[in-house]
Symmetry: C2
Subunit: 158 residues, 2 copies
């Protein structure tokens, strides 16, 4: 576990129990152009660095029927993130903001979420347009993206 | 752990290691109109049964700045799901389908995902229009929904 900096003024850190309530299994990993979390873009809208989602055997049998979905939901474990900062002060924000109002990788359960565009697939290797996480990030789930329930183009933000 | 039925013809079950790779903490729970997973709707598009997301202290401090987002991404732990069925045969599908091409609650990491519409909030209690999971389902993360990256209305499915 790396050493973490003390919270900035206005940030709030909580003590997290060492005990956990449920366990995850890693089912593969993400290969990206970003060697470390510090290299990752905050926003991938304009990015095109290619990335690969690798699903390990025997989990790759779970990809049957996935071809034809143009987009997938990827969930991944941000294994190099601290988990204790409940209120954060990112450089692009004037005031301290709660973690659940941010897409920060620092969260009590550091699960990354991206809607990814599929380019091609060969068995357990899915080429995607891009993703925001560091190379080697563990994969924990893939789901088909369903525009009917997942796309809310008119969603508002403050 | 409940007893699970044997796989149906065409379904594939794998042996999952008892060891896990990462641990989750539960940060709250979801109160819904559905007492058990068997009562949950497959599709909530036409549903309006109200639901509540409860965020426990001290995690509720992480909600600062969340008001004004009309929609949130909720991640929750489907604690009553089996995890071993990699290929499944839901009743609405003619042929066996991989778990990653399905939104089934049965998955190697049973993480539920919903885009939820916020009605109101009082401290750690967020009233939402509806959600698809059973009452008491543990909450593991909330994220602001960002239409710019999360809404892909033209996404295709097979």
């Amino acid at each position: 576990m790396p050493e973490f900096k003390p919270p900035r003024p206005g940030e709030v850190s909580i003590m997290l129990s060492q005990a956990t309530d449920a366990g995850l299994v890693f089912i593969g990993r993400i290969r990206s152009a970003y060697p470390t979390p510090a290299d990752c873009p905050k926003n991938t809208l304009e990015r095109r660095e290619p990335a690969i989602i690798e699903v390990d055997p025997p989990f790759d049998a779970g990809l049957a029927g996935i071809d034809g979905f143009s987009h997938l939901i990827a969930l991944y474990w941000l294994d190099r993130s601290r988990r204790d900062l409940i209120v954060q002060r990112p450089s692009h924000r004037p005031e301290p903001t709660g973690v659940f109002a941010l897409r920060s990788p620092v969260r009590p359960n550091p699960i990354g979420f991206s809607v990814v565009e599929v380019i091609s697939r060969q068995k357990g290797r899915i080429e995607i347009r891009t993703i925001d996480c560091a190379d080697g990030t563990p994969l924990i789930d893939l789901k088909p993206y369903l525009a009917s329930s997942d796309a809310v183009p008119g969603a508002l933000r403050p």
